[in-house]
Symmetry: C2
């Protein structure tokens, strides 16, 4: 593998989650898009900067874990007298649908991202799910345009901030959303048609995440369909999409190669990381993955869809 | 490609359908599981026998089309004074859900399959969707056990004839069902667990059809996940599963190779045929596929999920 270890800046929520699944429930545990993204990307590169905000309730010990993974936390604001973002949700039997029980924005409600000068020229930028106006603000506060900007978002922003979302879309290279969101954003049921419309909104690359059904990358007339790892059990899907995104951009940052072929590989690695994530609650299973286990998972994953046509 | 052209016997409905989709509606058109299976298999082998029943209303002209495709219709009973099986259904916007408007069993209600002596020693047997007791009757009426028996079924028989279904399952090698049916039959949500339970019921091989999300083949500890072809538009999904099954077993019959690796290839060809089927109403688009177009579709399909990992 080519190794360039380009710098990666991550923005997103660092938060508390409380999760209920058919397998059990958690108290408040560490969550947030940027947390999953940083942990996942750290398997590929240690040159990671974080821009986020937490309240004084956030455990210093967990910030220490991120630092040990090579994350520069100079852009992590800690708001005294305030509380961290908190989300609580319940997954149903099929694990593809969930209901939100509690959303407390807290510090996220007034988040004004600050990008320290040592982090303002990243080669790669990952915009984790946040208000699209905050995502575009971060782009505006960089000293130069990154080599690649990847944006994640969700239906919530399509409902309440569509104009902001469309504005931010014009500024990014890769968008990651799920299939229902792609349909909502484009007004097209066919994912082929949806991808064409969304790519016309700005991002040259579109990754449609289909959970247990895999992920599809669209770019010009090229398409790549990566199946999902088959697991005995999906224990908790929280953070799977962020873990995917972190592995995807982390692999690209490590290799410094943003060709379509390398993006395919990055999708494999992102999917492999996500398959670890969903095997336990929260971030537990991606805190310390054995590098050998990761290589084995990728190989097994590759074998899953390997076919030799002989005609 | 190795060519053995082993003999294939197909049993299933030959019928009329009336279909409504968001794109339009048809009058009574030719349908039925065995019709789709025979047409699809005919792209690989011309040594096909058909065991089925129709009423006197069934057009002789369409029977002629099957004969032109190399189908021996010696086992096709034509019941004078009776009507052919008729199904009418409406698909919703997502094309994954449908409602049945009319089911008229007619000749199928008393179907007693007759296997002519020149067809009773097939190398391959395809049991299209029918009452499981009729499927097992056909197996019992063969002069020798085929090399491979593939069975298709559906949730309807799980609801009303589960014991018969379980009895037939013990006699077959490959079962094809969709993901919801696999969950219903096994009582397991996880497809990995569902596959283990269903394979313990009899079939060594299980193919779970996931429509637009592809198909998964399970055998011992091996798994193969074949994505679905991405189409601009799914026009009419009727017969897609039968077309898949026909291409699958037709390819196996042509090559005479029932190894796991060859089954993977057979799934590719079956999926490619199914992708043609759904592009127009009924059997229209699989009546006369240009061989070059089929090769191109398979190549495009293979490219869709091709990745070179370089680590």
């Amino acid at each position: 593998m080519q190794k360039n270890y380009m710098s990666l800046l991550v923005i997103g929520s660092v938060a508390f989650d409380a999760i209920e699944t058919p397998f059990g429930k958690t108290d408040k545990i560490i969550g947030g898009a940027a947390t999953y993204i940083c942990l996942s990307a750290s398997y590929f590169t240690r040159d990671i900067g974080l821009v986020a905000v937490v309240g004084e309730d956030f455990p210093q010990e967990y910030i220490g874990i991120l630092e040990q993974k090579g994350v520069d936390i100079g852009g992590l604001q800690v708001k005294q007298g305030e509380k961290s973002f908190f989300w609580s949700g319940r997954y149903f039997n099929d694990m593809n649908s969930r209901e939100t029980l509690v959303t407390e924005l807290n510090v996220l409600g007034t988040f004004d991202p600050v990008v320290p000068s040592n982090l303002d020229q990243p080669d790669f930028l990952m915009l984790g799910n946040l208000a699209p106006s905050v995502q575009s603000t971060v782009i505006g506060r960089l000293a130069k345009r990154p080599k690649l900007i990847v944006m994640d978002t969700m239906n919530f922003w399509m409902d309440i901030a569509l104009d902001d979302l469309k504005n931010t879309l014009k500024m990014v290279d890769v968008l990651t959303i799920n299939d229902e969101e792609a349909r909502q954003l484009s007004g097209e049921y066919s994912l082929v048609k949806a991808a064409r419309k969304i790519r016309a909104m700005g991002p040259k690359y579109l990754i449609i995440k289909k959970g247990e059904h895999g992920a599809i990358l669209f770019y010009n007339d090229e398409v790549f369909y990566c199946p999902a790892m088959l697991l005995e059990e999906v224990f908790d899907p929280t953070g799977a999409g962020d873990t995917f995104a972190g592995g995807f951009i982390g692999y690209l940052a490590k290799t410094g190669d943003i060709s379509f072929d390398n993006m395919k590989r990055a999708i494999y690695y992102g999917s492999a990381l996500a398959s670890f994530c969903v095997e336990k609650f929260g971030t537990e299973n991606i805190l310390d993955i054995d590098p050998k286990a990761l290589i084995e998972r990728v190989a097994k994953f590759k074998a899953l869809s390997h076919v030799e046509l002989i005609d």
